[in-house]
Subunit: 357 residues, 2 copies
């Protein structure tokens, strides 16, 4: 039996999250950014990338892997590119800075690249590409971490579930945002299934011996999307994000180096300033035509509506902004433990029916 | 019963291909480039993207969709980006030019973008990213065409099997080259299966009514890789390659516009000049460490060796460069028809055992 989820208003959850990270040593602005990105994931229904990560983030700060007050800097730049030394910044802090950099470079050069060296968990990749898309950019971003996914043909972790996200301005307010793991599922989804007790689908994961399993408790590693395609994509993201920044994650782990045991991530974000190449209104009108055409296609029997990348998340965001964010009881009690440690009080449930212990 | 394949030396096949395209109206250099790219695909074992395309390319020239003497030009440029108006050039001609442009821009700016408007079938996408990787670049390229793949949730063609390719310099001579369709398989693979009579794997394709089939003769459309991920990737490639260049392919088809019935493609290629950000020797040494680590992982029971993206193709290229390229009898006889039309003689088989009729 899993306990029922409680429901919380987004501003309350964001406030609590920000307070936790300030208490954990971050400056106000950085803590607010982390809170915004985590709660954004919850609002969009990507709970595996939301506030359930807080205890882990705090643990990363405790053990020195995440730096709450990083000396983040542009280590090298050209008119079109920046290499950012993130100094173990929280992923949302480093990635938001990188997005701003890439957009600024794209404004000047048509295309802009931000390479992010030595950050930590980048959270929901789609947040950053959507942020650039709201600035009129087509944006493409990937990030990578220590091995946590099967490389095609192997029985052990060879690559990470590196997310890949691409976003463009939509016809109206919301951008189109593709945000996909290079695994069949993101590791966060398996962790989330463990927490909620739901079984995995066949083909999602293998156990510690590399054998297929649907038991979330036995699942050790996700399988790559489409076999060699998913693990190949992840490998190429490592080559771009980690090897161009001379901060190899996978090789250090394979060779048993001490750095290979630490939590660290690298990332890249590319922005293309659409208005430099074509009229942005024309672009958006062409998106409208494209979306209208796809939505008019004959549908599979069990499908009510053909959805665009990110559309389900946008609708969920509207609903959860209005109705509150459900938090599984297990996650809530973990958040309570973290809050108590910092002497923080937990917010009351949106409808008043639950109060933090 | 399918007739046995004949075998041809690569230079002979390249020579024949070049002669055909010169006879079809291309300048020598353009014809040689098309021949090089098609035969490269055959050498690497990607026969679906090799010389079996020749009859279709000639047909495209006949009906005016492919321009053998295009007025290709850079329509707009910044220090980091070029928008190329390809004027219906053969894909290999436009894409090779675009790659040179993107690499040149990357040398100056760290990153370079080439957008390619109104080209035709781009052939093996990996050729261009590998070309850039040999120049020390990390390269990322995608292209799109009229709808020929299921969009997730729909029963009809909504997107194309848009290839996505990423390449980086390898540890030694050969780059790592990921070249994947956003479909479970490329349309060319289904066409190739029709030609050789082999059955499709379940989950590859649907028939004209949108129902699953393994019969290559009934297969009408491939399914997207990983459902919404593959069709989402393809959609985003259309947004970047076609909508930023203001040359929408999918929407024109949906709306029944005359342009929507014509064969045309758009593409993009992004190059990152690695040496601007880190020492290229260090990068390549880190690739060596990464590859060594992956190859040392424990393997699945039925797997002899863990392979890198493009490695199978590189080995096939070495073997076929030495032993010749096998051409299915059906393809050979179609090539013979094209050659005869232009009054060209077909080359003798590499080992003398077969002669063109």
């Amino acid at each position: 039996m899993t306990k029922p989820a409680i429901k919380l208003a987004a501003p309350d959850l964001q406030h609590l999250t920000g307070d936790i990270f300030v208490a954990a040593g971050m400056p106000e602005a950085a803590a607010a950014k982390v809170a915004e990105v985590l709660v954004w994931a919850n609002l969009r229904g990507a709970d595996s990338h939301g506030v359930q990560r807080i205890p882990r983030y705090v643990e990363l700060i405790d053990d020195g892997a995440m730096n709450p007050r990083p000396a983040m800097r542009v280590a090298f730049e050209t008119p079109a590119a920046s290499l950012i030394e993130a100094d173990r910044a929280a992923g949302p802090v480093a990635m938001s800075f990188a997005t701003t950099e890439a957009v600024r470079k794209a404004r000047g050069s048509g295309i802009g690249l931000a390479l992010v060296r030595q950050t930590t968990h980048t959270a929901a990749q789609g947040y950053y590409t959507a942020m650039a898309a709201r600035d009129g950019m087509a944006a493409l971003s990937g990030s990578c971490s220590s091995p946590n996914m099967i490389y095609y043909g192997a029985r052990a972790a060879g690559v990470s579930t590196s997310p890949l996200s691409i976003a463009v301005p939509g016809a109206a307010r919301d951008p189109l945002v593709l945000d996909m793991a290079t695994g069949v599922v993101a590791m966060g989804k398996i962790v989330h299934a463990r927490r909620t007790g739901q079984r995995l689908e066949p083909g999602w994961a293998v156990d510690a011996e590399g054998k297929p399993t649907t038991d979330p408790a036995r699942a050790a590693l996700p399988l790559p999307l489409g076999g060699p395609k998913g693990s190949g994509l992840s490998l190429m993201i490592e080559c771009i994000a980690s090897l161009i920044t001379a901060n190899p994650l996978l090789a250090d782990t394979f060779e048993g180096k001490p750095e290979g045991e630490k939590h660290r991530q690298n990332a890249f974000l590319i922005a293309i300033d659409i208005a430099r190449f074509c009229d942005l209104d024309l672009f958006q009108d062409n998106v409208r035509r494209l979306v209208a055409g796809l939505k008019s296609l004959p549908r599979q029997p069990d499908v009510d509506e053909v959805l665009m990348p990110g559309e389900r998340g946008s609708r969920m965001l509207a609903r959860r902004s209005r109705d509150g964010i459900p938090i599984p009881a297990a996650t809530w009690s973990e958040l309570g433990r973290v809050a108590r440690r910092f002497g923080l009080s937990m917010p009351t449930n949106a409808d008043g029916s639950w109060t933090a212990q």
